[in-house]
Structures are given as C-alpha cells and as structure tokens.
C-alpha cells in the first residue's frame, strides 16, 4: 500500500484550467470532474504527508514565526510597564486593544457560520472550505482572546471576572457586558474547537492509515481516537456533528451580539444604539468571508486545489460578501439617519464629528473600503476572477478595522463635555501588538496546513459521482 501511495503523490488529474476550456462553457461544479475517491484522498492527504512544503509556505511560516516573537516581546513589555505603553488616555479608554479584539472576533465568524449554518441549509458547496474556515475561526478567536485578557490594567487579576466561591464572598457584576463577554467568547471558542475536532476525526484516521512513519501513525492514531469507520462510528459521528452544528448555530449570532453590547449598553453617543447586534453580526460575517477568501485564494494556488476549491466557491463567497456588505453599508446610513432623526444634539454632533472631525479621513476610507469596494461583486467577471476577489477581500479586511476605529476611539474622543475632549493615536506598541497577533494567526494557520488536511477528505468524497451512485444502489 505504502509504495502505491508514493507513486500517486503529486500526480493530479488534468483540470479544466490546464485544458484551457473557457470557464463560461462549463457549469461551475463544487469539485472538478474526473476525480475518484482515491485521487481526492491522495491529493489532499499528500499535502500533509509529503516531505517538503512549497517555498511560499516556508516563507510565510518564517515571517509569521518572527511576528510571533514580536508579539511575545510586546506582551512582555506590556506586563512589565503597564497599559500606559499604548496610546489610550482619559477620554479614550479603549483603543487598539478592544478594536482589534472586535476585529478578530468578527473574522472568527465565517468558520462556524459556513460549517454549521450552511450545513443545516444543505449547502453542499461548503464542504471544501469548511475545514479551512473552521481552523481560521479558531485561530482568529485565539488572537482575539489575547486582547481582552491583556487590556486590563492588572491582567493577573483577570480571574476575578469568573464567578467562583472566594474568601471575599464577592461575586462579579453580572450586569456588566464585559461579564457577558467572558461567557460568550469562551463558550464560542470551546464549541468551535469541538466542532472542528469532531469533523477532523475521520480524516485523522485516514492520515493515520496512510502515514508512513511511526511517530505520525502514533500521533494521528491517538487523535483519531480509534476511528475504524464502521457503520456504528459513522452513525454516531453524524449525530454528534449535527448536534454540534445545531449548538453552534445560535452561538454564531450570540457572540457578536454580545460583543456589540459592550458598546450598545453604554450611553456614549456612537455606542448607545439599539441596532448594533444585527449590524455587528452582519459585519462579522462580512469580515469572516473576506478573510476566508484572503486565505483560500492563495492556498488553492499554492497547493493546486483548484479542483476542490472551484470558482463556484469563490463566486458564492463573493456573493455573500456583497450581501453582507450591503447590510453593513445600510447600517452606516441608518446611523446617520438616527443622528438626524433623533433630534438629540449629542448624537448629531457625534456623526458630524465622524464626517468632519479630526478623524474624518478614517471615516471616508471606511466608506470606500466597506461601502464601495464590494459593489464590484455585482459584476460576474470580477466575481469569478480570483485576483479581483482577493483585492476586494483585502479592502474589506481593512474596512472592517476602520469601522471599529470609527466606532471606538472616534466616539470616545469627543463625548459630552468639551473640556475633556482629547485625541488618540496608536503607539508603536499598539502596532507591534496588532501585527504580532496577525503573526500568531498566520503561524497557527501554517502549522494547520502542514499537519492537518485543510479540506475535509471524506466529505469531498461524498460529492463525487461514485458516492452518488453508491447512494443510488443503496436506494434500490
């Protein structure tokens, strides 16, 4: 068996791309034709089991590893000196810290959404990107988690946020949105983790069986928890997976809803708004899909996955971006309308300050990135061009960051009493922490690509005609 496999490694069936057939003549499938169980399995598992990784991977890995060092250095300095190393001050108590937290959490939405909700909606095109997206979710949440944990003045007392019996006979303040955050985020992280892991088990087994060195066999073996693929296993697997899907579906909505409460519950003009939850959730999905595209497009090129992550996937994601982008843009317009219609002078001033204050540049950049850029997706030519998709996705990534900047510091820096107005600027430490967290994200992602199948092998199999025919036989 082993030698067979060695022969098959790297050997990919010719694809439409190579045959130079214009895309418009063929209905875009979720997996290119001509694949068999074996070829799918071989191709995907080979990425993991092969000896050498492509150069680009190595470079990305090296760079991200360096950034992780930057991150650890920054955190060290932060713990040593205090949050004063950041740009925060008296009007602006939250800066990059919470900003990046919300940004990452937003990105962390696509995964579970794709896996859970699209699964329940029977969207079979999800299969080839869900594993990838879930992993991304986990790593995004990990990066996000850094910020709330470290943004406090005395991080070593963070455990006071958890309700536990203590010698002070004191409970946390359950009325505080930050309190709710603790539960929301930690729950979300746990469930996504389990969801992801459960989904991995059959593939881990595959890797175990195909691994050709003892260590790999042991590790994958242990992780696959004795999966033999018996009908009983499959039955239990399906149940568990569906269960988790159902469980995480509400979470997708709840997490960012609660994150938005951090702002909506306060009474600061620009924060105190009833429509933040839907607005934030839409924004999160928007950001999430943008990030999936940002990562999937290079990945499918590097690892020759065009067969599995087809144009159809990219196009669909483009459509989702367009839709959510419109929702978000609508939200911006609504904020303006509220400001005008509420008749509240402070609300009015808040918006005027956004469009005409010291940070107006941020606001206009935001409109361009989040409002205008996705409009390209109306055009099929752009929707189906990986390059254009990638560029748009990048715009959206930036735009979502700007959105949080406009909401957090811009609202804070000029609130009620002009006497306490101020300005906010991120310091080099703010930036190093931000870049560092991106590094951490990429670092984990590289490891994932290296050691785990980035596309669900067995689920791909189910998409093949063979699978369909088996099903047909079964029905007779």
């Amino acid at each position: 068996m082993a030698e067979v496999e060695d022969k098959l490694v790297h050997e990919v069936r010719p694809t439409t791309q190579e045959m130079r057939i214009p895309a418009r003549f063929i209905p875009s499938p979720t997996v290119e034709p001509g694949h068999t169980f074996a070829s799918v399995t071989d191709h995907i598992s080979s990425i993991v089991l092969r000896k050498r990784m492509p150069l680009l991977w190595t470079i990305t890995f090296a760079v991200s590893a360096m950034l992780v060092m930057v991150l650890t250095g920054t955190i060290g300095w932060l713990l040593l000196k205090g949050v004063g190393i950041w740009g925060i001050n008296h009007p602006v108590g939250w800066g990059f810290d919470i900003l990046n937290f919300v940004w990452w959490i937003g990105i962390g939405h696509a995964g579970t959404l794709i896996s859970a909700i699209l699964l329940l909606l029977r969207q079979e095109w999800r299969t080839s990107i869900n594993r990838f997206a879930e992993a991304m979710t986990l790593f995004a949440v990990a990066s996000a988690g850094l910020y709330p944990a470290l943004h406090t003045g005395r991080p070593w007392y963070d455990f006071w946020l958890f309700p536990y019996p203590n010698t002070m006979s004191l409970w946390p303040q359950f009325r505080s949105p930050l309190m709710w955050d603790v539960f929301a985020v930690s729950t979300y992280a746990t469930v996504s983790m389990m969801f992801w892991y459960v989904g991995l088990i059959p593939d881990l087994a595959t890797l175990r069986d195909r691994a050709n060195n003892k260590l790999a066999q042991l590790v994958y073996g242990a992780l696959s928890m004795g999966w033999r693929g018996s009908a009983k296993h499959w039955y239990r697997y399906e149940t568990a997976y569906l269960l988790l899907a159902g469980l995480s579906t509400p979470l997708v909505l709840s997490v960012h809803t609660i994150v938005s409460f951090d702002f909506a519950v306060s009474q600061l003009p620009g924060w105190h708004s009833t429509f933040f939850p839907p607005y934030f959730v839409a924004g999160a999905v928007y950001a999430g899909f943008a990030m999936v595209l940002t990562l999937a497009i290079p990945a499918r090129k590097i690892f020759k996955l065009q067969d599995f992550i087809t144009m159809k996937h990219l196009e669909n994601m483009g459509k989702v971006m367009l839709a959510t982008g419109m929702i978000v843009f609508y939200a911006y317009l609504m904020e303006a309308f509220f400001a005008y219609y509420s008749g509240n002078s402070l609300e009015k001033y808040m918006y005027l300050n956004r469009i005409n204050g010291p940070y107006r540049a941020m606001f206009y950049a935001l409109i361009i990135c989040n409002g205008l850029a996705p409009q390209l997706m109306w055009v099929k030519r752009f929707r189906t061009s990986p390059v254009m998709l990638f560029i748009t996705a990048m715009f959206v990534n930036v735009g979502m960051w700007l959105e949080r900047f406009v909401i957090i510091p811009t609202s804070l820096h000029r609130d009620f009493l002009p006497s306490s107005w101020g300005m906010y600027h991120g310091t080099k430490w703010d930036w190093s922490m931000y870049v560092g967290s991106i590094g951490l994200f990429l670092f984990l992602l590289c490891l994932f690509i290296r050691y785990l199948p980035m596309i669900s092998i067995f689920e791909m199999r189910t998409l093949l005609p063979e699978a369909q025919s088996h099903a047909a036989e079964a029905h007779e």
């Binding site: 010698t167 002070m168 006979s169 175990r208 073996g221 004795g226």
Partner: protein, 215 residues
C-alpha cells in the same frame, strides 16, 4: 497492517478523557483550600517577640484590663501599643532584675523603642476602626479570640473579607452588651433573643458598602 496501539490504549484514552475533568476540579479545590489556610491568612501563628509577653499571665493571671495598655481602643481607630513607660509603671517595682525584661529596661534607659512584631495585619487598603466596634458592643474576644488564654499572642481569626462580612451582614450573631466588651470569658446566654435587641438598642447598622472599609 499491524495495529499501532495495544488494546489497553482504549481504556487509557477513556480514563484520560474523563480523568481530566476530575484532575482540574481537584487542583482548583486544593488552591481554594490553600487561600483559606493559615499559609495565606497567618491564622494561629505565634510570632517571635523582643519580649515573650504573655497576655495569659497579665490578663487572666493579674486581671489587668485591656485598656490599661491599649489606651486608645475606645477613642481611636488604633487600639494603641503601650509605650515602654507603661511596662515600667509596674516593672520598675517588680521583676526589676528579670532577664526576660532586659529589652524593656534597655528601651526605657536608652529611649530606643521596643520593636514588636505585628500579629494582626490588615492590608493597607483596609481601614479598620477599633473605637466604633467597641462602642457598638463587639467584644475584643470576638475578633482576637481568648487572648487571656494565649501565652504567646497569635491571630485567632482568619481576617479574610468573608470573615468580616459574616459579622457585618448579621451583627446580631455577635453583638454583646457594652459592659461585656472587655470581658474575655463572656458567653451569651440567649444570643438569638439578645442579639436583635442589642442591635436595635445600639443602632448597629449592617454596613456593607465598599467605602465602609476601602478608601
């Protein structure tokens, strides 16, 4: 193809999975125990003193009133540590040559104060006022334990915030008649009945605002 794992691996894995829960729970339980133990609270620890002063001897033995040495306990937040002068009031007459009292005589002669080791130590962010507790009928023994039975002084209570709050939330459990405050041996006859009465009479409030102690 040969099996990678022995059958026992199954059991092993099951044990680990379920064990994990209990291990974590156990660790937390241990930590919880430590923070409540004398290791963290200093409860019941006798300290080295320049002079092995025995409350047992002076209070139970000689029947000296607390206020003879702790003069400001009724007037000030600080009960007061007696100046060397106070010791010498008696010890210039009796045990004038006892080696044990050498440091006291030295201090009195040189004017260099005695340095006692603090037994009851509240954190700096906690403000405690003796006088009002005494005035509201909280006995010395309620917090300091049976000082009159201590050869060497130690901290009788844990002095944790939970411990403070226990009384601040239900003073009626501990309040005693004013004339019994300095009586070490006081035992309430019917606290359930007496307590609420005294709370009413002394207008004892249930002060649980943070700024009662922290400011």
């Amino acid at each position: 193809m040969a099996q990678i794992f022995h059958r026992s691996a199954n059991t092993l894995s099951r044990v680990t999975i379920f064990g994990a829960v209990f291990i974590v729970a156990f660790v937390l339980w241990v930590i919880g125990g430590i923070v409540r133990s004398p290791l963290a609270t200093d409860q019941g620890i006798e300290r080295e003193q320049p002079v092995p002063f025995s409350h047992q001897h002076h209070v139970a033995g000689l029947g000296i009133d607390c206020r003879y040495c702790h003069t400001s306990v009724e007037r000030s937040s600080f009960a007061g540590i007696p100046p060397t002068q106070t010791c010498m009031n008696c010890h210039s007459q009796i045990w004038t040559s006892a080696d044990m009292l050498g440091p006291v005589r030295a201090s009195f002669a040189t004017g260099k104060p005695l340095e006692w080791s603090r037994v009851h130590r509240l954190p700096d962010f906690v403000h405690f006022n003796h006088s009002i507790h005494v005035y509201k009928g909280i006995g010395c023994a309620s917090c300091h334990g049976r000082i009159d039975k201590m050869a060497l002084t130690y901290q009788a209570a844990p002095l944790t915030m939970a411990w403070c709050l226990d009384c601040h939330r239900n003073p009626e459990k501990y309040v005693r008649p004013r004339n019994q405050v300095f009586n070490m041996a006081y035992v309430p006859v019917n606290q359930a009945k007496l307590g609420p009465e005294l709370v009413r009479e002394y207008q004892v409030q249930k002060l649980t605002s943070c700024s009662t102690c922290h400011y």
